[in-house]
Subunit: 190 residues, 3 copies
């Protein structure tokens, strides 16, 4: 929180969409180096294709390190943060729980749409518990860890991302607080 102001954060002073983007990969195996991270590069490239400027991918173990990575990234005030992994049903899968406390408003329809898009290909897509929502003026979304789940999620986000970030930029410029409250813990929308 007492980080020096990162260069990307300066973009926040303009009236334009904040095009800085964070990417967090939640995977015990990828963080331990026993398994290569394959979804981080896909998400970063997709963000570039959408006109965003991704920060280096953060690959962290499941659970509390995801919360720490989100808090760290939110201090840089990116326009969007995309996570992948940890949305399933095992005890290790805790990305939604690590994300929930940062969201002042949840967007359940984004999560629904991603599950519906995935379910058209595999019934197991309905098991993702990933959240989407707003933290300050940052849009955060949890994608599944699988390559297919990431692709389906990005397809759902493609027609939404610019609109969401434009709305959050307008809100920021109207004097609403840009700073998230990473440790608030319980102020989600409903």
């Amino acid at each position: 929180m007492n980080h020096a102001r990162p260069k990307h954060a300066d973009a926040n002073a303009t009236g334009e969409v904040n095009r800085t983007a964070g990417v967090v990969i939640a995977s015990n195996r990828a963080a331990a180096g026993t398994y290569p991270d394959r979804t981080g590069p896909v998400i970063s490239q997709w963000l570039r294709d959408q006109g965003f400027d991704p920060l280096p991918v953060r690959v962290v173990p499941d659970g509390e390190p995801v919360k720490a990575a989100l808090a760290d990234l939110l201090a840089e005030r990116p326009g969007v943060i995309i996570t992948s992994g940890g949305t399933g049903i095992t005890a290790d899968d805790r990305t939604p729980e690590m994300t929930a406390g940062f969201l002042q408003k949840q967007l359940p329809g984004v999560a629904e749409a991603m599950r519906a898009a995935g379910a058209a290909k595999t019934p197991l897509a309905v098991l993702s518990r990933g959240l989407a929502g707003v933290s300050g003026t940052t849009f955060i979304v949890n994608l599944p860890g699988s390559a297919g789940g990431v692709r389906d999620g990005l397809d759902v986000l493609a027609p939404l991302l610019e609109h969401i970030c434009t709305q959050l930029a307008g809100q920021r410029d109207a004097g609403h607080p840009a700073a998230p409250v990473p440790n608030s813990g319980g102020h989600h929308g409903h």
Copy 2:
């Protein structure tokens, strides 16, 4: 709460569906008179077409005035309250938060169905955070503020409204409390 008993409330004593309906438009611009309210008349006419008897439309600014309007309307014990506006992602959009505290039971499937119906026309429909649920024996639903969002939402409600109100009327006649608790704050279904 200390209002004189309105004429519509007397319908509650019969064994029939309570056909009184409230309409709340949440819009800073419409409430300030800088923009005409176009969705209120559409919703009122639709309610008449469904055999309901709408009270005058209440046009209020976003946020706390929405909660006050709901509390005021609930004191009249209508069968249904439909709101429009304030379901989006900006800081002003707080209609779901203003509604949640009144709902003893949420009906997430109604909100899902409205988003799905809208998404068939525009992907942005998934961004609505509108709630639906039951407060005492009143059904409450949050529609988006856009004309298209209202139309899609009403299309989803058309085959449901009579059934919902019939079930709530049966519950009322079985001796369950008809009176909502507008300031309860936290007794939603799940």
Copy 3:
């Protein structure tokens, strides 16, 4: 909680999927014997067809008895518990509320998929408030009380159940706690 270890629980010590299944029917009329339970046998037969070993169906009145039946069944540590009934909007319909406190993780996509499957046949299917989720290493799901709602729900579960139980078995064998905490009350996923 101080029950003798039931025979089915011994299956938990193996590395295999826990094929014990519980079935709870929530219905005031069926519990009073004024109406035969028709969905319990359908669910039990479906479970057998899926390779599971159903315990005797428990038919209980709506509300608190559902919570007691769930607590009692969870003490036997089954792999899955399916409930039917009490998911609607009347004051008696409280199965989701009785279930929520047992779920450490909710699976909203399973409930969404069941409502969507039902809505393809009747719009009223969107009114089900049934939950799905994980309690310890037990998967719990609330189906509606109607024969059609049960059938639609089971069709959605068919391609998911083996995968869910395999994942929960792996988690159990990895040393995560198998024992649910039936009276925890508030540790659900999000």
